[in-house]
Symmetry: C2
Subunit: 331 residues, 2 copies
């Protein structure tokens, strides 16, 4: 079996050369669990922090030994679980970047792939979708009349944020993304009302002119700078979901702090979001999101490559902001 590992311990933003694809013995079937032949594995920005030991206290994987952490989907090839049959499609959160993985029965969630590409369980119906759903429906509680702003809007989480907010009745959904191609994706396929290209000139002025004082919900994926911009243009009593600070994951300096006076002045409500807390709401999330996905109202572009050997290059694109859409590898 092939798997992807760190070539060495990491103290910088990961690049393709920091990884190695090696042969390894396939994991055995855990007692009472399943063995899964993975069809798709996910690459997520937070893994860049995890590889440096900077993510929620979790250790970095051991170089040349442990597979890079990542979610995956695939089919059961061996089962010691009464709930799983060989051939079942499952989602495994802790799958790793490898061809075969083992999982406890409770960690191999059966997925309904009828009429869907199984890879959607890594994007719109996976952790990115759950993240967006938790922030929009459980924390910010978006409803009719809301004006919702999200950055990294072409990404898997950002794209799902806008589409789920729309489905919940938001009046306007606005994105920020880097470059005209990403913005075209955001206003086209994702159906946002507007997208501001943060690489263009005067986009801040344009945002201020069109939405100043009107944003009622903001979903932060990128940076403290973007958060301050959103707060500047929020209506009083707006709600903010603090999801991630991707721009700071690999910065040499810690992220700057948020001026508290802005929060008080705007009477804002800020929510910290950690998606793991909502993992047990998976079925509730799917009951809302899967119908949207089947109707084409929840869709995420993919940056997809074939084969584990491509994983290092895809991941380098992801953490440097050069990819568009959900990064994943088909095996």
């Amino acid at each position: 079996m092939k798997q992807v590992v760190l070539a060495h311990a990491l103290d910088h933003r990961p690049a393709a050369a920091d990884f190695a694809v090696i042969d390894a013995a396939p994991p055995v079937c855990p007692k009472g669990g399943v063995r899964v032949q993975l069809s798709h594995i996910s690459m997520d920005p937070y893994v860049g922090s995890r590889l440096r030991g900077r993510h929620m206290g979790e250790p970095a994987p051991e170089p040349m030994i442990e597979a890079i952490p990542g979610h995956g989907v695939g089919r059961v090839i061996e089962s010691q679980s009464a709930e799983h049959a060989v051939g079942d499609w499952v989602y495994v959160m802790d799958a790793g970047w490898r061809e075969v993985t083992g999982a406890a029965a409770s960690d191999a969630r059966k997925i309904d792939v009828r009429g869907l590409d199984p890879a959607i369980y890594l994007s719109a119906l996976g952790m990115p979708g759950l993240t967006a759903w938790a922030g929009i429906t459980q924390l910010a509680k978006v409803g009719e009349g809301d004006v919702v702003l999200v950055d990294a809007a072409a990404g898997a989480v950002g794209g799902a944020v806008g589409q789920i907010a729309r489905a919940r009745g938001a009046a306007e959904v606005i994105g920020i993304a880097g470059g005209p191609e990403k913005c075209a994706l955001v206003t086209g396929r994702y159906g946002f009302d507007a997208c501001f290209d943060h690489r263009s000139e005067s986009w801040r002025d344009q945002l201020a002119e069109r939405y100043g004082g009107r944003i009622s919900v903001h979903f932060e994926n990128v940076s403290v700078d973007m958060l301050m911009l959103a707060l500047t243009h929020m209506a009083a009593y707006g709600r903010v979901v603090l999801c991630g600070l991707a721009a700071h994951y690999h910065a040499d300096q810690p992220a700057p702090g948020l001026p508290i006076g802005m929060v008080i002045g705007k009477r804002a409500k800020l929510h910290g979001l950690v998606v793991y807390d909502f993992y047990d709401r998976w079925e509730e999330f799917l009951s809302e999101a899967a119908p949207l996905a089947r109707e084409g109202r929840l869709t995420i572009a993919e940056d997809r490559a074939q084969g584990l050997a491509e994983a290092p290059a895809v991941f380098e694109r992801l953490v440097s902001g050069r990819n568009t859409g959900k990064a994943l590898i088909a095996l």
Copy 2:
């Protein structure tokens, strides 16, 4: 009539010498309004920022001309309002530091002083009490089982925070205050379960040991440093009320920012509070707070002096943290 004014424009923390007590013509009765002989005027920390033009965009009062802004209570001495009779007790938010004030009928709120010192409408039943009530009951929604922390706990807002939280069923109420006398007030008259003296050694270790990971609600009155301490010791999904940053009002540097990673890591919910927004909830607040005050379950110590000539010295004590309890002047 006497009134207190700025002696000159201000660009530092106000001291007694920055004020002057001058003679002025008493205001006339506004058309349809009332004239009020003030019995007590309030001194509040935010006024220190206001005098420097740093408070919510409001201009500083003109030196030697405009009275220092402040709330007051007193009795109507002239009425052109059908709702007010001469002799009625009223609360006037924009009274000013002077002996007589004029107010529109809607700005002269009738108060029920039966069995109470009218000055309580400047503390437990005034803006400090309303501030505490809004944060505890409307934003943080404190209920049974909550462990509530508040700093500046000997002050009017902080003291009311703890007592209202207790009345709402909080399991434990904890204060932070400066010095053993203030802490004795907090755990004695105010009935908190514990008070940590931030001028003592190792108080941070003691707080961590007794309450680490257990604080479910924090009410911030003082500084970003205290806020970070509270977040450090909060339980997941804690609620924070951002009310004021008194330690920064007169600092040369802007307040440091809050590291957003702490908010995400704790899944905290932060609420900005501006008490003006709750001014129209006054009657609802009083329906809860006045019975508590009459039962002695909501009580605030006073730093009280007699006569306008004392106002500059009392205010200097207040903004330098050397007073205890609600600062006010009896006239």
